[in-house]
């Protein structure tokens, strides 16, 4: 990749990082704007908010550019800043809306398991996890799989997806997420559980059962 190679080279005068701020900023928007925008859009699902996040990221990067040590690629650095902006954003919007989405996927959980009789709590015949091929991870090398994956992720209720992706994509720990979003660990785990049930089922129906 271009960025990585550039950072392996000795820093010389005329290197990008010595460009005047305005020139550097223009180059950033051209080189990384779309990628950052898509990162943001995947998480906030609203183009205007995603654009704002990209702008805030570049502004923060511009202020902090002396601290960019060139140890990571420029893009990795910018994505890292975007992550912080995203968490701030989610924290603020969590305060503005109440956490009612917990109930959203309750139906998914209820319909996965028998509700009555001796078999109560067993998988329902039609939603029981099916065998996904001998080597399901081979799917991860196919572009078509990721298109389906993106669709399935987009189908999660927004608040559930926020919490779920902070955990799974950003790899944050339960305590940090619960503090940021103002939810209890118990509720958080229930949300994750339901999100996984829903995502699994969506992938099975739209990918693994079809292939």
């Amino acid at each position: 990749m271009g960025e990585e190679t550039r950072n392996l080279l000795p820093q010389e005068p005329g290197d990008n990082r010595t460009d005047p701020p305005a020139v550097e900023a223009t180059r950033w928007v051209e080189e990384h704007g779309d990628i950052l925008f898509r990162h943001a859009l995947a998480r906030v699902r609203n183009a205007a908010q995603a654009e704002d996040l990209v702008q805030e990221t570049f502004l923060a990067a511009l202020k902090a550019r002396d601290r960019f040590a060139g140890r990571s690629s420029e893009r990795t650095w910018l994505v890292g800043i975007l992550k912080h902006k995203l968490i701030d954003h989610l924290r603020k919007s969590a305060r503005e809306t109440s956490f009612t989405d917990l109930e959203c996927l309750a139906e998914t959980e209820a319909s996965s398991f028998m509700q009555e009789g001796l078999s109560r709590g067993k998988w329902q015949a039609e939603t029981q996890p099916q065998d996904w091929h001998a080597d399901p991870s081979a799917s991860l090398d196919r572009e078509a799989f990721w298109l389906v994956f993106r669709e399935c992720l987009g189908g999660l209720p927004a608040r559930v997806a926020d919490a779920f992706l902070l955990r799974e994509m950003d790899g944050l720990e339960t305590g940090d997420i619960c503090t940021s979003l103002g939810i209890s660990p118990g509720n958080f785990w229930v949300m994750l559980h339901r999100a996984r049930l829903a995502l699994r089922r969506c992938l099975e129906i739209n990918w693994f059962a079809k292939e």
């Binding site: 704007g33 925008f37 991860l140 990721w146 298109l147 209890s184 118990g186 509720n187």
Partner: protein
């Protein structure tokens, strides 16, 4: 906000009940095992259930694949056809950065 961190309060099995888990309970425990340390009893109960239940074993494998895919998704997503910054947004951002 109602807190239900206590497993009893949120209807989660505890004590000896852990040795006769239903699929619904074991699915929830398998998920929680990805986010917190399960107690020894919980792990033991889960092992007993998984020994007997092919559906839940499959579910566990799929959860691990899901986690792996989620970690990889941002990288893959960057290469998928999809949204890009509009010309207007691009100009607005450029302008903001020059100030």
């Amino acid at each position: 906000m109602k807190t239900n961190d206590n497993p009893r309060e949120r209807g989660a099995p505890s004590g000896l009940r852990l040795l006769s888990l239903t699929c619904a309970e074991s699915a929830r425990l398998q998920s929680e095992g990805l986010d917190r340390h399960l107690t020894r009893m919980e792990r033991m109960g889960l092992r007993v259930h998984l020994l007997l239940c092919a559906g839940c074993r499959r579910y566990g494998r799929q959860l691990r694949l899901l986690r792996h895919a989620l970690r990889r998704f941002p990288r893959e997503d960057a290469h998928l056809p999809g949204g890009s910054l509009s010309e207007e947004a691009r100009e607005r951002i450029q302008k903001a950065l020059r100030q």
